[in-house]
Amino acid sequence: MQADGSNPARVIFKEGLQVLLDRLKAAGYQVIGPTVREGAIVYRPIDTVAALPAGIVDEQAPGRYRLGEIRVGEQRPLFAHVVGPDSWKRWLHPPQQLMWRAERKKRGIVFVSASAGGQPPRALLGVRACEIAAMRIQDRVLAEGEWPDAGYRERRKGVFIVAVNCGRAGGSCFCASMGMGPEVTEGFDLALTEQVDAESHRFVVTAGSPSGQRFLDVLPGQPASEEALRRAREQTAKTAAHMGREMPADAGSVLRASLDHPHWEAVAGRCLHCGNCTMVCPTCFCTSMEERTALDGKGTERWRQWDSCFNASFSYLHGGPIRNSGAARYRQWLTHKLAHWEAQFGTAGCSGCGRCVTWCPVGIDITEEVRALGTPQETMRHDGG
């Protein structure tokens, strides 16, 4: 509600969404949004609303992800899905990045910065509350420390975020128990709440920044009524009440107290150490450097790529890996995410998106693992757990 009593929120329709995409492109943004590729919803550059996953819904459970169809009357909702294997991390903290080039000259080595420049600013469409939370978590790590990552800061600074309030919770979702969703409350430019019924398909749009407001003011549609806003809030509240899972509130202290718990061996016995959870995680930031030399030996490039604490080489020190057991590596992942992150960056390292649960090939559910680790050790031993 504005000072003059008018309501700046608007209701737009699919055509209005296309106008938003067009205006973002006209303003120089590359628009990235959810789209279906190879049986999963991923985030890729899109030009039109037609590229969005219309009428697609995802069924998620530990170790399970399937796309299905959903209709409401004749309407096909665009954002009925939750989050897939991809995350916005791909666009802000890319899987591979050239850091610099070097050449061997008579006067020693010449280093040339591979600047992150030259890429257009990006508009991210369909960003969920847990994903904004994940970006804020990565901001702390990559942009707000003593040595910020220049490329990340550049890419992050330029993004325009069109968020979406989740209209349903996925089977692996637990953002509500992390306090990171499902309602979009900050860190966005525009926020959509999709409302679909048999008669109409509309989006209640609110602005979260002056820049977002400028786009919103010129979208075709109508001012949102109090009734429409109330329905949008109710819809998101309903999502919060239907989360697939719940993280115990004391996860951090449970993990800090269980570094020697026998359950690490039990979960390591199921874990394949494939690293899927770290690859799909929107906050995992770990990287390794790789030297790529030219065949003539004169030039070389230094690349940075995502790494995973599940790789034995991750902790390699002369002689062998420090974490040379699966249990040690699983413990590193979970304690870092839910306990030590807090000490390092002043926030939990998990946004409750549930990707690691869904994409674990053996269906390890971290909320269940925390519960098991919260069980006194003696009990675990007697139960043979």
């Binding site: 910065s113 990287t287 070389t300 000490a343």
Partner: protein
């Protein structure tokens, strides 16, 4: 430091000194001129063209213009670094990490305990102490090496022991017929007679097991955990807390270490494979 901490600064090897089998000390100068400032205990990421980067503690004199690193050939990059010759180029990023507590050591007795190549990150402490010798009480170096042939900076240490007011005590695990010194683990050198336990700062550097036993012995002799510092080592790729490799529980060794006060890391050191 360059504007981007991920891009190395070009340096040149001006001297390559063979120290021990597979161990060399490189003396480096920035191509751009000027001096390299660091505090004892800090490390640099050293880059070999076409091979990669490794974290190496500075082993030279903090008052000198030139940069010194003592490197043991243990992997592909360190092997390549030990084969560099005068005039070769090398990349340097740094200095990174928390230093030894030299200010806190002023007015106190100083105990250094080194194991093997752990002597290298402690040498800058000796340079700094000797430069302002009057500010410190008794200074004792306990140094354990595998054999007499593995004693790093041996001549220099013997000279400092004789003339520079440092009590240098060296032991080896395996003696040779010519060796007249101590034989056995480094903790057996330690004695109450060498320092005033209630007013001592200890700095330990070597394999983790050696540091843990040294700390236990110092505890028994009356030095508390809060006065014992040690330098930790882990895989490092960035040196600036962004790559995640060097985590030790809630800390990053590159950022919060490598030098820690014992009471900050002892609970973590006791957990296997952390």
């Amino acid at each position: 430091m360059t504007a981007d901490p991920m891009i190395p600064m070009p340096f040149r090897v001006v001297r390559q000194r063979h120290e021990l089998r597979n161990v060399v000390t490189l003396t480096l100068e920035p191509e751009a001129g000027g001096r390299f400032s660091f505090q004892p205990g800090q490390f640099n990421m050293l880059y070999h063209f076409g091979m990669g980067e490794v974290p190496i503690s500075v082993s030279g004199d903090p008052a000198k213009r030139r940069l010194r690193h003592t490197i043991r050939s243990v992997g592909a990059v360190t092997h390549a670094l030990t084969r560099l010759r005068k005039g070769d180029g090398v990349g340097v990023r740094g200095p990174f990490g928390a230093p030894w507590p030299l200010a806190e050591a002023e007015g106190r007795d100083v105990v250094l305990a080194a194991g093997g190549l752990g002597m290298a990150p402690l040498r800058p402490v000796l340079y700094a102490v000797m430069a302002r010798r009057e500010r410190y009480g008794r200074v004792t170096l306990y140094y354990g090496a595998r054999s007499p042939a593995d004693i790093l900076y041996r001549k220099q240490l013997e000279r400092w022991g004789k003339r520079r007011g440092i009590d240098v005590r060296i032991t080896v695990d395996k003696a040779t017929p010519a060796w007249r010194g101590h034989v056995g683990v480094v903790t057996r050198l330690m004695s109450r007679e060498h320092f005033a336990a209630g007013n001592t700062i200890a700095m330990l550097c070597g394999p983790e097991v050696m540091m843990r036993f040294s700390a236990q012995t110092l505890n028994r002799l009356g030095v508390s955990d809060g006065r014992i510092y040690l330098s930790m080592e882990r895989n490092m790729q960035c040196g600036i807390g962004l790559c995640g490799h060097c985590q030790l529980g809630p800390t990053f060794i590159c950022r919060d270490g490598p030098v820690y006060r014992l009471d900050e890391v002892l609970p973590l050191m006791k957990v296997r494979g952390l």
